[in-house]
């Protein structure tokens, strides 16, 4: 199945532009992050179809997924 992925801030280093990728059914957001090559030490948030989602959400065909930066220094 196919999902669209994009990223904000520092995660654009891994996904510079939005793109569609093919993944297996039952893929979680946490696994999708790894598939996209995102390695991060700091915080990451997941947005699916415009709403916040948790790392264990299983993506569905046609989902629009965004990886966003959270937390950081002050």
């Amino acid at each position: 199945m196919e999902v669209e992925v994009s990223a904000t801030g520092k995660f654009r280093d891994f996904i510079p532009e939005k793109k569609k990728i093919t993944v297996n059914e039952g893929t979680s957001l946490s696994e999708l992050k790894t598939i996209c090559g995102i390695t991060n030490k700091g915080g990451i948030g997941f947005v699916v179809n415009g709403k916040m989602a948790k790392f264990d959400y299983l993506v569905k065909n046609g989902d629009v997924v965004q990886f966003i930066m959270v937390v950081g220094a002050g």
Binding site: G9, K41, G43, I44, M52, Q66, V71, G74
Partner: protein, 232 residues
């Protein structure tokens, strides 16, 4: 009012009065807190509370522009108070030299119109998120890592709170930071606060991500998570 002439031309007299009648609480007087507090003080916010338990150290001075070499070893709230008071004597500055806990947040938050979170750790962000959600107080959240930063406008019941983002308290805080970077993100937290208080925030976004190396800016409107305690 002469000192605000240029911004009254932009915002209008009624909105300048709104700023004068506003009370803002800023948590943290460091890299983000310094530019935020300076911008809000010179803009004519009526009353500003600042919370910081820390003392000024030499390694703070590459970015924490409220403090200087004369205050090393002194409470940050002291140097912040002196600097801000010298910038605008008409703004009332109240200081709280202690770590923000649930108890202190419950005591302070009801008095203020809006909270600005400029801290550098998960624990305090979690306190701000929990108590502001309980009390339905708006928050301007911010963070920076290297050349990347973000701002989140938390409007109770309307936009995602910090907890909605599903933060992982085990994640590492990356502390690489430049004063020029915190200056931008902190100033924009102050700008979003002023926009919120004066009605200039058009609600088309509630999250802004900045890549300051490549000048990429992304905005999103994030709704509250149905699973988060802030929506219950």
């Amino acid at each position: 009012m002469e000192r605000y002439l240029r911004q009254i031309e932009l915002l209008g007299k009624d909105n300048q009065d709104k700023l004068k009648n506003s009370k803002v609480l800023v948590i943290g007087t460091g890299g983000l807190g310094s530019p935020t507090l300076i911008a809000l003080t010179v803009a004519g916010i009526g009353e500003i509370g600042l919370v910081d338990f820390d003392k000024v150290e030499i390694h703070n001075l590459n970015r924490q522009t409220l403090h200087d070499e004369n205050y090393i070893g002194t409470e940050k709230t002291t140097s912040a108070y002196n600097r801000l008071s010298s910038l605008n004597k008409t703004t009332v500055i109240k200081t709280f030299s202690e770590r923000l806990t649930d108890t202190l947040a419950i005591k302070l938050f009801p008095y203020y119109d809006i909270i600005i979170d400029c801290v550098d750790n998960y624990e305090t962000r979690a306190v701000v998120s929990k108590i502001s959600a309980q009390l339905k107080k708006p928050v301007i959240e911010g963070g920076i890592e290297g050349f990347n930063g973000y701002i989140q406008i938390i409007d109770p019941d309307k936009t995602a709170c910090f907890n909605c983002l599903g933060f992982n308290s085990n994640a590492e805080i990356v502390r690489q930071v430049l004063g020029a970077g915190t200056g931008i993100i902190g100033s924009m937290q102050a700008l979003e606060c002023i926009k919120y208080l004066t009605g200039f925030w058009d609600r088309s976004y509630s999250y802004i991500a900045f890549n300051l190396l490549k000048y990429q800016i992304d905005t999103l409107y994030l709704e509250p998570s149905a699973e988060c305690s802030c929506s219950k």
